[in-house]
């Protein structure tokens, strides 16, 4: 499923709403999550999962093609932990 499939499915389930409003709602949700992570905040969606950011130290890497050492600066990376309910549902035999 892609973002446009998601919008289409939501539109089918909510025929009283304009597509452009649904597009705006979907965009808002992902924008809010992204903005929170950019601030360093956590996003906790019970039953689904939690997004957070983690610090990675600077390290020496290597260009796999040339073998040259390259400095990899410290950075912040996004992290997602699956929620308990979803984790269980993924492993239910249906």
């Amino acid at each position: 499923m892609t973002k446009s499939d998601l919008i289409r499915r939501l539109a089918e389930a909510n025929r009283h709403l304009y597509i452009r409003d649904i597009e705006k709602i979907v965009a808002t949700v992902f924008e809010e999550i992204s903005a929170a992570l950019a601030r360093g905040d956590r996003v906790e969606l019970r039953g689904f999962g939690a997004f957070s950011v983690r610090d990675r130290d600077a390290r020496l890497g290597r260009n796999p093609r040339t073998g040259d050492e390259v400095r990899v600066p410290d950075k912040v990376v996004p992290y997602f932990k699956t929620g308990k309910e979803l984790r269980l549902r993924l492993n239910m035999t249906e």
């Binding site: 973002k3 939501l10 808002t28 992902f30 905040d41 956590r42 906790e44 996004p78 699956t82 993924l90």
Partner: protein, 101 residues
């Protein structure tokens, strides 16, 4: 760590502010988005949200683990796990946040 936590209620409030829907309908739409993503992951295993990231279900094989308390070996059964890969756009955005050099 900034220490703040954003929840479903915050997302619903943002939707409420952005679109002319009631608060309860805004909250229902946030839930519907998460339910659609969950349903799609359970059915076909991948959800790709452009400029945000990709969720995919991976099958893990059985391996031997160890009970850290007793040292006893226990098999970890084959299972399905969900992984999230952030898009380059999101990764870049997270690394640009103020307060860091």
């Amino acid at each position: 760590m900034a220490g703040k936590t954003v929840t479903r209620a915050h997302l619903a409030e943002a939707v409420y502010q952005e679109v002319g829907l009631s608060r309860s309908e805004s909250a229902a739409l946030v839930d519907a988005i998460l339910a659609e993503i969950t349903g799609s992951l359970l059915r076909d295993g991948t959800v790709k949200i452009s400029s945000f990231g990709t969720f995919s279900v991976r099958q893990k094989g059985q391996r031997l683990g160890r009970n850290p308390k007793t040292g006893e070996e226990v098999p970890i059964l084959p299972r399905r796990v969900l992984v999230f890969r952030a898009s380059q756009v999101l990764k870049d955005r997270i690394n640009r946040h103020p307060g860091r050099s």
